[in-house]
């Protein structure tokens, strides 16, 4: 008997189609939202970046980026700050995640809440809180001088230091979470096996634990780095006008010069650079395998 004319074949096929339609319609609102609020405006900005003041096609915004050194500086400082923040987040986050992963699950969960707490507070609130803490007459400088740790107020804010402190603080949970999750999923038997085969705890860490936790580390580092590239509030508040990252530059172009084309072109370039980094990273570490949980 052919499948086409089989018993109930038509009805069964219709059921399958109906199920697929229902699934599709469930994702409909989200697809619509993303299209309206993301793809359309981004497409529009992309379009704007190729128009001059008179509305004609032009590459002047991109040319300006190459000619004016202030644009290059904005990109360089953006990547520098993102890189340093990511590096310090790794140095702080990895040992923290390791310590948490070795605790009993119940204790670790409580500690994770402590890690997540700042995560649930408004970014603006946290940034201004750092301003209060770090400024010349702030808590840290006052106490540092009182305790005789240093003599005159340290320049902790309104510069690169402040920006980095604020960004690292905000980004740390993004590093700790994926690293912790990966470490938790590492079967303890791997470490036992390593020890049984003759590896000291230190060697077992370097030869087995670290490689197995690498997927989480890469995921965390990429997330931190890419989120850093788009930072605006923290450098604006804690950088004291001295730190101009790309996002700040975009804001200036729009608020001060009403130059949407220039702002758009910056956004487009940042978007493309981010894409290139993601692609390079995925080529480097086979991100797809890590993201699909193939690491452990």
């Amino acid at each position: 008997m052919s499948h086409e004319a089989g018993l109930n074949a038509k009805g069964l096929r219709r059921d399958a189609l109906a199920e697929r339609l229902i699934l599709f319609s469930l994702s409909g609102p989200a697809v619509l939202l993303v299209t309206m609020t993301m793809l359309v405006p981004v497409g529009w900005l992309f379009w704007l970046s190729f128009l001059d003041d008179a509305g004609g096609f032009s590459l002047e915004h991109y040319q300006r980026m190459l000619v004016q050194p202030s644009y290059g500086r904005a990109f360089r400082i953006t990547f520098e700050i993102s890189f340093i923040t990511t590096a310090i987040c790794i140095l702080l986050g990895y040992p923290l995640a390791y310590a948490l992963s070795q605790l009993p699950r119940r204790v670790a969960n409580i500690c994770m809440i402590a890690v997540m707490l700042p995560f649930w507070t408004s970014l603006l609130v946290r940034t201004y809180a750092w301003l209060v803490l770090l400024q010349r007459q702030g808590l840290i400088n006052t106490w540092g001088i009182k305790l005789g740790l240093w003599d005159s107020p340290l320049a902790l804010v309104h510069n690169l230091n402040g920006t980095l402190i604020g960004m690292i603080h905000i980004m740390l949970p993004f590093m700790v979470l994926p690293v912790y999750a990966t470490m938790r999923s590492i079967d303890r038997d791997y470490l036992k096996a390593a020890a049984n085969l003759g590896a000291s705890p230190t060697l077992a860490f370097w030869l087995v634990f670290l490689p197995l936790s690498l997927p989480g580390l890469v995921a965390g580092a990429l997330m931190v780095f890419i989120l850093c590239l788009g930072f605006y509030v923290t450098p604006a508040v804690l950088g004291g006008g001295k730190i101009t990252m790309v996002a700040n530059r975009i804001a200036t172009d729009i608020e001060l010069f009403f130059n949407w084309g220039a702002a758009s072109s910056l956004g487009v370039v940042l978007f493309i650079l981010t894409g290139i980094i993601l692609y390079a990273a995925s080529r480097l570490v086979r991100l797809d395998r890590f993201l699909s949980g193939g690491g452990a």
């Binding site: 079967d187 038997d189 791997y190 036992k192 096996a193 390593a194 020890a195 049984n196 085969l197 003759g198 590896a199 000291s200 705890p201 060697l203 077992a204 030869l207 087995v208 490689p211 197995l212 193939g294 690491g295 452990a296």
Partner: protein, 358 residues
């Protein structure tokens, strides 16, 4: 490896408690040089804890463990130099097969050429020659099991520990691997301690079996002795199927519910005893009076055809239900049919009388 290079293991007074729960209770155990000893017990009996202590992963409260002359109780796991096969194999997923097997050699500073050679030898030994470049996730369960074994023996440890290594395999493969492991042990001769909760596996593979329950060794002996002469009711019930009937022993002889029985050996103590009956040692007799065999009249309560055999359940004169495993070619009796069960004198075994509240 020469058999005399294997090390004996001597465990003394090994004790471990978690809170009020005593997982191991002053265990003494001697494993001979080159012996294949199985720790057999139900889950939670302490058998795995004991194995983990031999490997150094669980710290006992007190006691002594010697490998040969050397006391190892406080020695870190990575210095014990024992091979171990884990239940889930614990093959490193970020290394290929060859790197996994080379791992212990690399840590022992063995040169590249020799490492390559020994890895290939170990692969040949487990019949997976040429699999070196495979990734772990490309292997089947049985292949992983063999690789785990290759990794555990490649550095020629003098003691090999195995924690239910076959439990994740399907039945057919498991039985095949049991024989293969046994042959491998005969070839390599390393002292082997094997943990399982599968009695058939223990009977198949071991030189001796230590039956463990509630943190104590209940009996340690050869498979045949454990099966045929269990030291106590726990061992008798844990290994194989068994039914116990109460028999009376007096000066004249032994009787069950008034029916005289001939025993293999007359116990010294008079009074009531527990007679162990294994289903495969009973036969269904054609005639009520058969010479040279004990005859027990019974009524069939169930008869089940099982392919290789027929399982008959019958109630004896005192109402006790016994199982009988008869040949599948025999006639399947009907339910409520009156039958006569034969038990040879040589197959009778009275359980030793246990001291109360031991």
């Amino acid at each position: 490896m020469a058999r005399d290079a294997a090390l004996p293991i001597a465990v003394r007074q090994l004790t471990k408690s978690y809170g009020t729960l005593r997982v191991l209770d002053a265990v003494d155990l001697d494993v001979q040089r080159g012996e294949f000893l199985t720790l057999l017990g139900p889950s939670g009996s302490g058998k795995t804890t004991l194995l983990m202590m031999l490997a150094g992963f669980v710290r006992p409260d007190c006691g002594s463990i010697r490998f040969g002359e050397r006391e190892v109780i406080r020695l870190a796991p990575h210095k014990r130099d024992v091979g171990m096969v884990f239940q889930n194999y614990a093959l490193f997923p970020h290394m290929d097969v060859a790197a996994n097997i080379a791992f212990p050699l690399k840590l022992r500073g063995i040169g590249k050429a020799e490492t390559t050679q020994r890895v290939e030898q170990a692969l040949e030994l487990v019949k997976l020659g040429g699999y070196g470049a495979r990734r772990i996730d490309q292997l089947s369960g049985g292949q992983r099991q063999r690789i785990a074994l290759a990794r555990a023996i490649v550095f020629e440890p003098r003691i090999l520990l195995m924690d239910e290594p076959l439990s994740a395999l399907d039945k057919q493969l498991r039985e095949h691997m049991q024989i293969e492991l046994r042959q491998l042990h005969e070839r390599l001769g390393m002292t082997t301690v094997y943990v399982t909760h599968d009695q058939r596996e223990a009977l198949t593979m071991s030189d001796r079996i230590a039956v463990i329950d509630l943190g104590r060794i209940r009996q340690i002996d050869t498979p045949k002795a454990i099966y045929e002469r269990p030291a106590n009711r726990f061992v008798a019930e844990f290994i194989g199927e068994s039914t116990f009937i109460t028999v009376d022993v007096d000066a004249v002889g032994c009787s069950f519910n008034g029916v005289p029985l001939t025993l293999a050996s007359q116990p010294s103590r008079k009074g009531s005893h527990q007679l162990m009956i294994r289903p495969e040692r009973l036969t269904i007799l054609e005639h009520a009076a058969t010479a040279g065999i004990n005859v027990l009249p019974a009524t069939v309560t169930a008869a089940i055809y099982q392919g290789d055999s027929v399982l008959v359940q019958a109630s004896l004169s005192d109402g006790k239900i016994v199982s009988v495993r008869a040949s599948a070619s025999a006639r399947v009796p009907l339910v409520r049919e009156e039958i006569y069960l034969g038990l040879k004198a040589a197959d009778t075994y009275l359980l030793p009388v246990e001291e109360r509240a031991a």
